[in-house]
């Protein structure tokens, strides 16, 4: 058993605009089960942050409890991290984001942490439009406690030693749309080609961005009968279209035939190309997105890709008109307006 990743790296690793290689965004060696989908998602996060030239110290990764919530130890080893109480990651992110809007908030959660114990927190953090990326590593079971069905397990899906699940699964994407999320996507840990641009787009989005990533539990939920196994998802996934992310200041090199692609400029200036988007979905229309999700669920297929994007999104800072500067940079003269101001305020109330 290896406890460390060897320190040697490929001598020709690409360097980003900050002079960092991918290795600078890695974390400790994973202790998750071999083949866990969560590790692939970690790999995609590392790649996205490297390719976007994000400064590691300007990222905060926060999580709750569970296999998913262990995974922030395995990426972004030089970023801020907070492992919170089960299901309470959204509250901690809210506090942190209110105190300092300059960091990228990366929330990592699982289906138990989000759809069971943290359901209330999840609903309200969306409703408040917190500026964060919320990634659910969704394996449909409680892997850390031996694989019981979770609240996102589909009705009829059977895990390794269980009976078919009698309850309907919670669709986190539908719920997020219902609660007013302005960026909703679903992907699959086994499809980095799709996952990577979605993570980048979510990072560029201002407001609440959810990516629900189906991430097979190789130990307890990768068996025939499960609807979250590698094989089942590969057979039943239907992409809404191809997403191509072009970072700000980069030349657009990909050429698509005219009329097949929609271009979206994100808040930070980067550009999203939505290619071959399915005819039944308008990803900029919430009703269309909700209908598409429902239809695919009825058909027994898994809708993946970018599902909904509000191009004019606002976030909590905009709504509450919070301080532009982080609280730790405000000194006494900013925080204490002085006696004269107090007198004025008191006078206005008389």
């Amino acid at each position: 058993m290896s406890y460390q990743i060897p320190k040697f790296r490929h001598p020709d690793l690409p360097v980003n605009e900050l002079g960092y290689t991918k290795a600078d965004y890695e974390g400790a060696i994973s202790t998750l089960c071999a083949g866990c989908g969560h590790d692939s998602i970690s790999g995609a996060i590392v790649k996205a942050c490297h390719e976007m030239s994000l400064e590691p110290h300007k990222i905060a990764k926060l999580s709750g409890i569970g296999c998913s919530s262990k995974s922030p130890a395995y990426f972004l080893g030089k970023s801020h991290g907070f492992n919170s109480v089960h299901g309470r990651m959204p509250s901690v992110v809210t506090g942190a984001a209110m105190a300092n809007r300059e960091l990228l908030y990366l929330g990592i959660s699982g289906d138990g942490d989000t759809a069971s114990i943290g359901m209330g927190q999840f609903a309200h953090v969306i409703r408040r439009a917190l500026n964060m990326v919320y990634i659910v590593m969704n394996n449909g079971c409680y892997g850390l406690t031996k694989g019981q069905d979770s609240a996102t397990a589909d009705a009829g899906s059977a895990s390794k030693k269980g009976d078919p699940n009698p309850f309907a699964g919670i669709d986190l994407c539908s719920l997020a749309l219902q609660m007013g999320a302005t960026f909703v996507a679903r992907s699959f840990s086994g499809d980095k080609t799709q996952l990577l641009p979605l993570i980048k787009a979510a990072i560029s989005h201002r407001g609440f961005a959810l990516i629900d990533v189906v991430s097979p539990c190789v130990t307890f939920n990768n068996n025939p009968g499960s609807t979250k196994s590698y094989e089942y998802v590969r057979e039943h996934a239907e992409a809404t279209g191809t997403v191509d992310f072009v970072p700000i200041m980069h030349e657009i090199t990909t050429q698509y035939p005219p009329g097949t692609t929609q271009e979206v400029t994100m808040h930070d200036g980067s550009v999203l190309h939505l290619h071959k988007v399915s005819e039944t979905l308008d990803p900029f229309d919430r009703v269309s997105a909700m209908t598409a999700l429902e239809q695919h669920r009825n058909d027994g297929s898994i809708l993946t890709g970018l599902i909904y994007l509000d191009k004019n999104s606002r976030d909590l800072h905009d709504m509450l008109q919070t301080s532009q500067r982080p609280l730790n940079q405000l000194d006494e003269s900013d925080l204490c307006p002085g006696n004269k101001m107090l007198v004025n305020i008191n006078a206005s109330l008389r």
Partner: protein
Amino acid sequence: MKPTDIKNPEYFHKVVDCQYACPSHTPVPEYIRLIAARRYGDAYMVNWHSNVFPGILGRTCDRPCEPACRRVRVEEQPVAICRLKRVAADNKGDIRERLPAIPKKKNGKRIALIGAGPASLTVARDLAPLGYRIDIYDNQFAGGGMMRSQIPSFRLPIEVLDEEVNYILEMGVNSTFDVEVDSLRDILNKDYDAVFVGTGAPRGKGLNLPGLEDAREHVFLGIDWLASVAFEHTDRIGKRVLVLGGGNTAMDCCRTSRRLGGEEVRVVVRSPFEDMKASPWEKEDAMHEGIPIYNNHVPVEFVLEDGKLKGMTFEKVEAHYDDDGKRSLVPTGEDLVFMEADDVLMAIGQENAFPWIERDLGIEFDKWDMPVVDSTTFQSTNERVFFGGDAAFGPENIITAVAHGHQAAVSIDLFCRGEPVTERPPPQVNLISQKMGVHEWSYDNAVEMDKRYAVPLAPLAASLKNRKVEVELGFDVDTGYKEAERCLNCDVQTVFEEVRCIECDACVDVCPTDCISFVPNREEEDLRGRLMAPASNLAQDLYVSMDLPTGRVMVKDENVCLHCGLCAERCPTAAWDMQKFLYNVTKAGQ
């Protein structure tokens, strides 16, 4: 690309860079692991079977394995493979019990070996255990050939040489020393079933420059002078010595001169320093002993005063390279440089000479007066006569001579049994899983970050006083262990079984050196640019799987794989396995 055929033994052989680069294909990682396990006798025997002279080579090998070491591609310095071999030899204990038994009843075949250098001794070592009667002839008083006459004792102590030469001579080999063979016809007339010529490249080249005639008393050919020192005919040299030439012989000449009274010893070479033929470490060793190397100096003439050698003049040049990399040395136009000298040693190369082979014996000679020898079978155009070592294709090195000897022995054995020599036996290959449990391997898969350890040296003053004091002290066992742990175990192969793969990407994510990619299949050139990291080292193969369920293929760039086993540890279905690949060149009679 087509799926890689890993059943072809040469595919994985090539991944073991050190072993592949070794002319004798010694299983390097195998013996390094034995050294780490402090099983020195076992490590020695792995070497002995493959390269016959572990103690000698552990001190003197040209080490083609080291520049090939994969470590050079991820850090600066290769594993000290050569000096680890010496650790095995120094600590092996008594291994005589483990040498092959020599049958009392012979097979009735008689073989003559001309020259008792590394090539001939290797032939003897392979054929004596098979029951051949072997007669070996040499003009020196003992066996060893150039290892005895040209390698100075401060690099190779005589006891080490004698021990390993005697292991072979004591196999019932009938040796005739101090006799110059001056006619191959006479040997052939003795009705040997086969004759092997391993007489080396015994003739030193000289430079016929103005003044040579009058200076002759103080001008020597390098290899002849070294032999004369080794055989104790020469025990001193002038205070000021010029050594001409930039190869390993020149390095041995200058360092020997320092020990025989040379105080101002200088090496002068025509080429730039980087182009010198000497191994980098031999140049370092010479400079460590206070010997300056003057490069880009072409010798012009010997300068005499009153009929006595005063020194030499040199013309300064610059190296120019044309588009094909061909070098020309262009004079800079500066004044000639004069260097004082009492004695001059010329070590500018050596060549073969076969005045003793009659030209009517059916042995064809080419336009360079070299025998025509088959590069696989080492047979000459007289089917009874085989060549090997420097005698076959010109000056090389000990390990190449050993490789020739093994192959010539295979040919001689086939020939004596009436079988075609062209039908070569395939290598002996073994591929075994190293899995001991979940995430547990029978080899030490952790990758050590230690820098290469330096071999300790005897104090300079003491070693310069006596040419028999060995300069290098060798690694002690603890340092030997640490150096052995630097080995990346490149023979433990990453073997991929596509039917088990579920394409979860775990191996891709964990691989520290980004060797593994899952991509749509393309032609090789195109594919090399589409991987996780560019596969720009074209000398290293891509390992390509059959098509996977998603239509992609697994492509592994072998170039900087650390053989750490993390891909196999993180694989949920054991599609990756770490399997030890043991490759042995098949020897005569096996």
